[in-house]
């Protein structure tokens, strides 16, 4: 059993929580459906976005260099990081040189991927995540369970208990409004005390050298307006050619993510603010490897909207933590094995290949085809359990010979009714499900008789 299977099984064991989690996330999928229905040209937008991304990926190096030149022109400092280590070293070096002790962060899945927080904390820097959901999971010392809604796995009562312990809110207080207010006051102090602010990047514009950060809480703006130093970390795939293309993505992103027409704040940064510093760290971390793999390249189109998580019947019923990786859900299951195929070999199988992910994706990532392609790749590398391999081999041998297939089928239909119920209920099918009654004759046998009559 894969690590994912074990985690998912544990998640499902709590029936009421399972039902609640599925409903809470399905609600977001429905909000997305409603928001999308208000845009008659939705499918045209998706197709356009997908083509823009395909084009950009085909000239990625050129666009990145154009972005770099324009960002420098605007007064930013641009850094390049090959992997997570290099990224973390660069960020730490910038902070260390300026004597930064307190850093406020707005949401960045990339720095989660790179495990930047523990890296900086070990080196004596206080790191405060300022997105409410991120702050909640940071208090709990756990990773986000969703890329857009990091604390979606928690009920408001659990957050009430957490805030009682961490922020001294009254015991039993679970009113979301009051809890948010408590977090706001707490974070306000952190913003005021910070020496530097770090943000992710939703879009980097090659044509202008500017970056765009989308948030709902305005925390990116506070974190970059108060302290004099702004560090922005981005994966190489975040580039868009120009502002015209940006507009396409801004119409798709929030509608797909949360069902909002647009995020509350869409913050454009073009160079550092007066007397301030802006550093942009551009990170590869395995992305160029994916760029070189034909069947998986399209996954680099992903804008991390989370729509595929929300629609995924498996994600909704297993929870983000079951995946054991920073980006869960269908997109996570196709990205993770690039980093470590053996470790994440279970993830491409955490899917019924229902295809809903591919149909909600605002940039046409063929997610369920990628999961299938991964299964093939894992089998080729010998990373699928031997039992499965043997069953497949034997099955293929039998099915390649119609006489043998007919005998095997007859045998199964004859033997199964003779087996004691106890035995039929002692396997993965039978523990919770009955088998259908076994027919006496196969269709092939019926057809042969019909031919004689």
């Amino acid at each position: 059993m894969s690590a994912f299977s074990e985690n998912a099984q544990a998640f499902i064991a709590d029936g009421p929580r399972l039902a609640w989690h599925d409903k809470a996330i399905w609600f977001v999928r429905q909000k997305r459906d409603t928001a999308r229905a208000a845009v008659p040209e939705w499918e045209e937008l998706r197709a356009t976005a997908s083509q823009i991304k395909a084009h950009t990926l085909s000239r990625l190096a050129g666009y990145l260099e154009q972005f770099e030149a324009n960002a420098i022109e605007l007064g930013a400092v641009v850094h390049w990081a090959r992997d997570a280590d290099e990224h973390n070293r660069i960020v730490h070096e910038i902070l260390r040189e300026r004597g930064v002790k307190r850093l406020v962060k707005s949401k960045s899945m990339l720095t989660e991927e790179c495990h930047l927080n523990p890296y900086l904390e070990e080196r004596g820097i206080e790191v405060v995540d300022t997105d409410l959901g991120e702050r909640i999971v940071q208090f709990r010392h756990e990773p986000p369970s969703h890329i857009v809604m990091p604390a979606i796995h928690l009920k408001k009562e659990e957050i009430g208990d957490l805030f009682h312990e961490k922020l001294g809110t009254p015991q039993g207080l679970a009113d979301p409004k009051a809890l948010t207010e408590a977090a706001r006051q707490h974070l306000r102090e952190k913003f005021l005390a910070a020496d530097a602010g770090l943000t992710g990047v939703n879009f980097a514009i090659a044509e202008t050298g500017g970056i765009v950060v989308c948030t709902n809480e305005g925390n990116a703006d506070l974190g970059t307006s108060l302290p004099p130093l702004h560090i922005a970390c981005m994966g190489i795939e975040k580039i868009v050619p120009g502002t015209r293309e940006l507009a396409v993505f801004l119409r798709l992103l929030a509608r797909s993510a949360t069902g909002q027409p647009i995020t509350t704040y869409t913050s454009h940064f073009h160079g550092p603010r007066p007397a301030g510093e802006l550093h942009v760290v551009i990170v590869d971390r395995g992305r160029s490897k994916i760029l070189g793999r034909n069947e998986f390249r399209a996954s680099l189109k992903c804008s991390r909207c989370g729509a595929c998580l929300n629609t995924c019947p498996v994600y909704r019923r297993s929870g983000g933590h079951s995946y054991g990786v920073t980006v869960p859900g269908p997109i996570g299951s196709t990205l993770a094995p690039h980093a470590d195929a053996a470790k994440y070999a279970g993830l491409p199988f955490a899917s019924t290949l229902c295809g809903s992910c591919s149909d909600v994706c605002p940039v046409h990532v063929d997610l369920h085809h990628q999961l299938l392609a991964w299964r093939g790749e894992l089998a080729r590398q010998g990373l699928v359990p031997l039992g499965k391999r043997i069953v497949s081999r034997v099955g293929a041998f039998v099915l390649a010979r119609s006489w043998l297939y007919q005998i095997a089928g007859k045998l199964v239909r004859w033997v199964v009714p003779l087996l004691p119920a106890r035995l039929l209920r002692a396997n993965a099918w039978g523990r919770q499900r009955d088998l259908p009654p076994m027919p006496r004759e196969s269709f092939s046998e019926i057809w042969r008789k019909r031919g004689r009559s």
Binding site: L18, P348, T352, G376, A379, G409, R431, P436, F443, S444
Partner: protein, 247 residues
Amino acid sequence: MLEVALFVPCYVDQLYPAIAVATVELLERFGVKVHYPERQTCCGQPMANSGFFDDAVPLVRRMADVFAPYEHVVCPSGSCTSMVRNHTEALVPGDDGVLALRKKTFELCEFLHDVVKVRPEGRFPHRVGLHQSCHGLRGLRLGSGSERLVSPSNKVRALIEGLDGLQLLELARPDDCCGFGGTFAVAEEALSCAMGRDRIADHERAGAEVITGTDISCLMHMDGLLRRERKPQRVLHVAELLAEATA
């Protein structure tokens, strides 16, 4: 006269022969002559979906060979049809026989709706929930699906909704997956059963007596849960429903 070769998925042949019988009856009723090439076995989907592409390749070639003499191939399963149409090219690239097979293979409802162009008349006085199996819905586009913003359409619905007495029910989640997923059903037993129970509950709330659909694999999974839990709803493949209604 239209002539077709019947492609009966292996699990239908062995476990649900009545569905194949109903398919033959139905096609003949609409004036189609049915052939059944007896050498057929399986399209290779179980192996391919598990990642064992090499094991599936000979079965795909075999399919192309067995069905080579026929103009149309009709199959009472969206999933197996989707395997043939959408996944065999990657397994056996550039093969003329496989390409021909992909082009001429139809799911039963799709064939009745698009090629024979029938509007079945008959009587089926029951409250019916339609389970839209994913591979038929999204792989073959038998219906528009809830994700994309396209004009609503549904070939299966179009075939059954005109039957006298049939009350087609509206579901809260009309196309969420039932959790069968082939080997997923046993490899991820807990998830699979949780998904199946949620689907059943949706049909129950809508007041279904009968749950129908294009794929008995999904229906077998839901039926297994229904019977274990001694629930009154029954599953019925759409071929059987149509054959019974138009008899």
